[in-house]
């Protein structure tokens, strides 16, 4: 009983802390905006050139799937911070010293994650209900048809996402950027893989339930129809505009109790994940966080029994101190920034980084451009995403911003350091392009070198956190350079991008972003 009331307090405290943050408000607005896009048909589900009229069943199911997908992708990053906050603030160590069990603690975190996600989902669902109430609806307003997809599809998946966030935060190597990258691939596989639709257990977005029934309705209205499946933003789907759609009526599927056991199974999986998390959760023991490298080496260099804090009368006095000489040197500042950026990774990280550049030099030109280059540009993600966030993350702002000219000295050095890393990451390819005489490829890549660190610095300065950049970068990197959507190909890895003057867009964006980063930074100094 006592444990339960303690857990309740934890959950409540956590939920309050989160919802009182400014970033929560922003996320809420973004969620509402997304809801608006769905309602107004900017995000759509279509069967080739056919789609249902926006009655309650269609809107409910569309909104149910869309919010599930959106929250599974982005909600994860929204909630994956509650253990790290406790670690950073020291609250974790306070809790660790109480009798609260690991399972109770992690379960509280799971429930509070789930509460936040449910809140977001409920906002989306409410948007759908309100919009349906306000507008004239064909076939009349049907509350159950609007709410059922939320209950049966969205909520169970949110439980999985909430548990996954707890699990990732409890495992040391999944806590940071690696986990953020891995999750995107998991989510992408879980939602965008059509093979999974066949298996009801793996049908996370609910499409496997809706689409066969929709197809039936479409074929009943247009017996000759050739159907397909497309889900997503209208702008990103190739082909016809909304006007050319053939409409049909779909009355929804029968929501029955038979669906409940399967959903319960998902929730069971979520609980299992939390249980697994207790195994790797280190209860905030700083000796087991392994954050600090080179610790062992440093210790070895000391005489075995020496106590490091041992007192010695200091031979020095202030009067011996040499006079201070001022001469600001940008190169030295840049070196210091680079050291700060690059320190603290495992040696294998550097080895792979070098390997990724070497591959660009070794494989045939087209392979280097299409595959090796994009691959090399995911590796420095943790470095870029830290740009502009370090003072907030490590609470060193008071020291740095009370130094003279922080805006004209230290800030450009951060930017230049990020640029240096980008130059290195694309270095192999830049040399190749020059040697082959592909001036356009060279220039396009140079724009990428400029764009990525500038973008990172802007988002880092704005949000004070690495996650915003990591999530956005991962998505554009995946859709653009990796999958070849020209508009998002900031590296100029595809011919379509280079020929379509996409690099010019990114150049302009870099300038705007650089300027914004400067202005945002100025607020802090």
């Amino acid at each position: 009983m006592q444990t339960l009331s303690k857990m309740y307090q934890l959950i409540l405290g956590d939920f309050r802390e989160r919802t009182r943050r400014y970033s929560f408000l922003i996320t809420l607005l973004a969620t509402l905006f997304f809801g608006y896009l769905v309602i107004t048909g900017k995000w759509t589900l279509r069967l080739g050139e056919y789609r249902g009229v926006y009655n309650s069943a269609w809107v409910g199911s569309l909104m149910g799937s869309a919010s599930t997908m959106m929250l599974a992708f982005f909600g994860f990053y929204l909630v994956k911070n509650s253990l790290s906050r406790d670690r950073r603030t020291g609250v974790g160590q306070i809790l660790a010293a109480t009798p609260l069990s690991n399972l109770a603690y992690l379960t509280s975190k799971f429930i509070s994650n789930f509460a936040v996600l449910t809140f977001m989902a409920a906002v989306l669902m409410a948007t759908a209900v309100v919009m349906q109430l306000l507008s004239h609806v064909e076939g009349g307003f049907n509350l159950w048809a609007l709410v059922a997809p939320f209950l049966f599809v969205c909520l169970p998946v949110m439980a999985l996402v909430a548990a996954m966030a707890v699990l990732f935060e409890s495992i040391r190597w999944l806590r940071g950027t690696v986990g953020n990258i891995l999750y995107i691939f998991i989510a992408e596989f879980a939602f965008l893989n059509h093979l999974l639709l066949e298996n009801p257990f793996l049908d996370f977005g609910g499409f496997g339930m809706f689409i066969p029934s929709m197809e039936e309705a479409a074929l009943a209205a247009y017996p000759e129809a050739k159907l397909g499946i497309e889900v997503g933003f209208v702008g990103l789907i190739e082909g016809a505009t909304d006007g050319a759609m053939n409409l049909f009526r779909w009355e929804g599927i029968d929501w029955s109790l038979e669906m409940v056991p399967l959903r319960l199974l998902w929730i069971g999986c979520a609980i299992c994940m939390v249980a697994v998390a207790t195994v790797s959760f280190n209860r905030f023991d700083p000796a087991r966080t392994g954050r600090i490298r080179s610790r062992r080496r440093a210790k070895k260099s000391l005489p075995a029994a020496e106590v490091v804090s041992g007192h010695r009368p200091s031979a020095r006095s202030w009067s011996d101190m040499p006079a201070v000489q001022f001469r600001f040197n940008f190169l030295r500042m840049l070196t210091a920034e680079l050291r700060l950026m690059l320190k603290g990774y495992h040696w294998s990280w550097y080895a792979i980084a070098v390997g990724l550049v070497a591959v660009q030099l070794a494989v045939p030109y087209d392979y280097a451009r299409l595959y090796a280059l994009p691959a090399a540009w995911i590796w420095p993600l943790p470095i870029w995403s830290a740009m502009g966030t370090r003072e907030a993350r490590f609470n060193t702002g008071q020291l740095v911003f009370s130094s003279a000219y922080p805006l004209s000295r230290q800030f450009p050095a951060i930017w230049a350091a990020g640029l240096t890393v980008a130059l290195l990451a694309g270095g192999g390819m830049l040399i190749r392009a020059l040697l082959v005489g592909e001036g356009d490829h060279f220039k396009a890549l140079l724009v990428g070198v400029l764009f990525v660190p500038t973008f990172a610095l802007a988002l880092g300065t704005l949000s004070g956190s690495r996650k915003l950049f990591e999530v956005i970068y991962l998505i554009i990197w995946y859709i653009g350079p990796v999958n070849g959507l020209p508009l998002l190909d900031f590296l100029g890895a595809t011919d379509a991008a280079v020929e379509g003057s996409i690099p010019l867009i990114y150049l302009a964006m870099s300038i705007v972003l650089g300027f914004s980063a400067f202005l945002w930074r100025r607020r802090l100094c």
Partner: protein
């Protein structure tokens, strides 16, 4: 060299004033800023260090508004915040180098000074260990070293001895005594004994406003002839706490021996004592503002 604080106020979110209508003129010397928790010491220091901007009022360094041209004072500023972070993967030398380059100290000068500063704060043995692996007091010493990097003309240290062991406290006090001379040092604490040895003047701050600013001797003079000692029964203690400013209690066989700061003799059995700075501080906090100083 002077620092002019004029009617400075800082309003935080929720209409909380950290300090209000605060005025003070400072010349070279060490100012001890004392006050209870939440009095506004850190708020004032953050404003002076150009980390936050005052909501009202002006601060001038040598006649120049620090909010308008902060870099003027930042060039000669050393600041140790009350709570600050470090970069866990850097060691002390690398961390200080980083800050030295941000402060525009030339490479050679920085190297020499960092070596000597680390000796000065007794961190030579731990200089190559990652900061994330240091103890709290050791981090604090790195913080002290960084504040002295640029030989500051204005040194602001917020509870510098927090977390230091007695020996290191003494070391810091000696350092402070050496530092005085041609600079303004502002040092905060809520422990009187930390401040009284070094300070050339003392400011008591309470609920965001200045209670008194005076030389230590003058402050002592305010309680001269006002400090008493008497023994009472334990049962009377609660009542005595209500009526007098108590600056100490010791349990004895006969009851409780209490130390009282009061304008008049608190009773027939009371014997006068030589006042200490602690008595003066408590007397000030109790709200007895004295015009004499």
């Amino acid at each position: 060299m002077n620092l002019e604080i004029r009617e400075v106020g800082k309003r935080y979110k929720g209409n909380v004033w950290g300090i209000k209508d605060f005025s003070l003129d400072l010349g070279p010397g060490i100012l001890g800023l004392i006050g209870p928790n939440g009095a506004g010491k850190s708020t004032l220091m953050r404003i002076l260090a150009t980390v936050t901007k005052a909501t009202t009022g002006r601060v001038k360094w040598d006649g120049i508004d620090i909010a308008r041209s902060p870099n003027r004072v930042r060039k000669v500023l050393g600041y140790l915040p009350q709570d600050f972070g470090i970069y866990p993967n850097l060691n002390a030398v690398e961390f200080l180098r980083y800050l030295a380059s941000a402060r525009g100290i030339s490479g050679r000068s920085a190297r020499e000074r960092i070596d000597q500063l680390l000796e000065l704060v007794n961190m030579v043995d731990a200089r190559k260990r990652p900061l994330g692996a240091l103890s709290g007091g050791m981090k604090q010493r790195v913080g002290i070293a960084q504040a002295l990097l640029n030989d500051p003309k204005l040194l602001i240290v917020d509870e510098p001895t927090a977390g230091l062991d007695p020996e290191e406290r003494v070391r810091f006090r000696n350092l402070l005594a050496e530092l005085s001379g041609d600079r303004i040092v502002i040092l905060s604490s809520h422990i009187v004994s930390d401040v009284e040895a070094a300070a050339t003047s003392i400011a008591v701050i309470k609920e965001g406003s200045l209670q008194v600013h005076a030389a230590p001797e003058d402050l002592l003079r305010t309680v001269e002839g006002k400090t008493w000692e008497m023994t009472i029964a334990s049962s009377e203690l609660a009542d005595a706490k209500q009526r007098f400013v108590l600056s100490g209690t010791v349990r004895t066989r006969d009851g409780v021996r209490i130390r009282i700061v009061a304008d008049e003799s608190p009773g027939k059995s009371a014997a006068p004592l030589t006042p200490t700075m602690e008595d003066a501080y408590l007397y000030m906090l109790a709200g007895k503002r004295t015009e004499a100083v």
